[in-house]
Symmetry: D2
Subunit: 141 residues, 4 copies
């Protein structure tokens, strides 16, 4: 495993919520990140699909990691939008995020969330958002 | 407890992911919904704040419930955007969603997410999205 | 007319595109801005309503002015989202923008766009976005 | 010129606002559309770049045309979000929109807006939105 992926996994391991959900950083390089999440009943909504909040978690986190890959680890997702395209169901979900443009003050990132079932891969959501450097404590407080 | 709130709580109780997080529907009337979530360490990111995915879960679900309050329970969040304004920390989070405009094919809803600590209430995120009727199985498949 | 409104009108007057459309800054105070636009056939789409691009122009500009009212005039709209609620038709459109939260690095602003016809006022779109300080030339180049 | 492009150009020609701005539909096929706009001083904001409203117009219209290419001409942009990446300057702007997913009730579309100067092509904005069938008059009224 390369050093950058190892670093990213350390960050993810320090997020208790990512542990509760069971997310795995599967790819992390300059300008891109991919996070996967095995699905289980606890992550469902009332119709047996992954809850929208689970899909949002993946989008939010993949966007942040992709932005952090070019801006450093002290970043936050400032905002994003997500469109849900199909019910999220299968063995696992996979979020892939790619930086469209990075500057000193922000990175703009897109993300696609896929449902994986065997060899099949279905696009189930698409997101776009802004990653910014973590502001000084006074600013965020 | 009124019949509408009871109905809404039944729906929430059938969402395993809402149970995993510990969300409570605290208000549900025509055109509005409020969901609260007691914070605990399992819901944090690496800096001790609620994870962005937790805040997104609340926004997504409150938007859906508010939309459902005017369109019926068979609805989904089609899309939304969220801006994170301040770190989400405190005893609990509270999402309040209000319908801006509802028609036959969609409801547009806004939501604010507050961090509650004692008597204090801090706005920490704002969302806006579209709720649509759940399409027939063929459409969503 | 107060000094702040006068300042804002000077900025608007230096935007050729705002002149082409005929926009007027009708209110400008700390944390808020309102821009109006008399409708005419040139601003229509094919069904006789104001073109979505006209509504977007108003949202974009009102968001920027509201953000600028708290951050200074050297700001840009970094991003926004807009939901169209009803066809935009009437004598004029009016965009009202209010700052939700302003810090040193960004302001988050909401905006509603109304169609005005006589005494009637119909909500036809809602927007939410981020205003940031204009970056140094090297950053934006 | 193929029949589909001709049809699309007829629709654009019936939008007075597109005529005022000078937009040209340069490509139109199933699932995609590209619109170009020669820049001139009238379309600027106060710093000599294309006004954000001009960029939004292009995004909005390209999204609608791409959605309409798979759903028929009676469609509207229901909502979209846009991130501005760089100042929009050059000889012309070009918006390229691609459908991510189309169903009976909506199409989700992404769009990139480029500034063109000679052989150079610079990405200056990215958008994502939802196209829906034009509702019956009672619904939209």
């Amino acid at each position: 495993m390369n050093a950058m992926l190892e670093l990213g996994r350390d960050v993810l391991a320090r997020q208790p919520f990512s542990g509760l959900l069971g997310a795995e950083l599967v790819s992390f390089e300059t300008g891109r990140a991919a996070i996967e999440l095995p699905l289980r009943a606890e992550l469902h909504q009332q119709n047996g699909f992954a809850h929208g909040g689970v899909v949002c978690y993946l989008a939010d986190n993949a966007l942040t990691f992709a932005g952090g890959s070019v801006m450093g680890s002290a970043v936050v997702t400032s905002e994003f939008k997500i469109n849900f395209l199909r019910p999220a169901q299968g063995e696992r979900l996979r979020a892939e995020a790619d930086v469209l443009r990075a500057g000193r003050s922000q990175a703009v990132v897109r993300c696609e969330i896929y449902a994986l079932q065997g060899a099949e891969r279905i696009l189930c959501a698409a997101a776009q958002g802004t990653i910014t450097p973590l502001a000084a404590p006074r600013e965020r407080g």
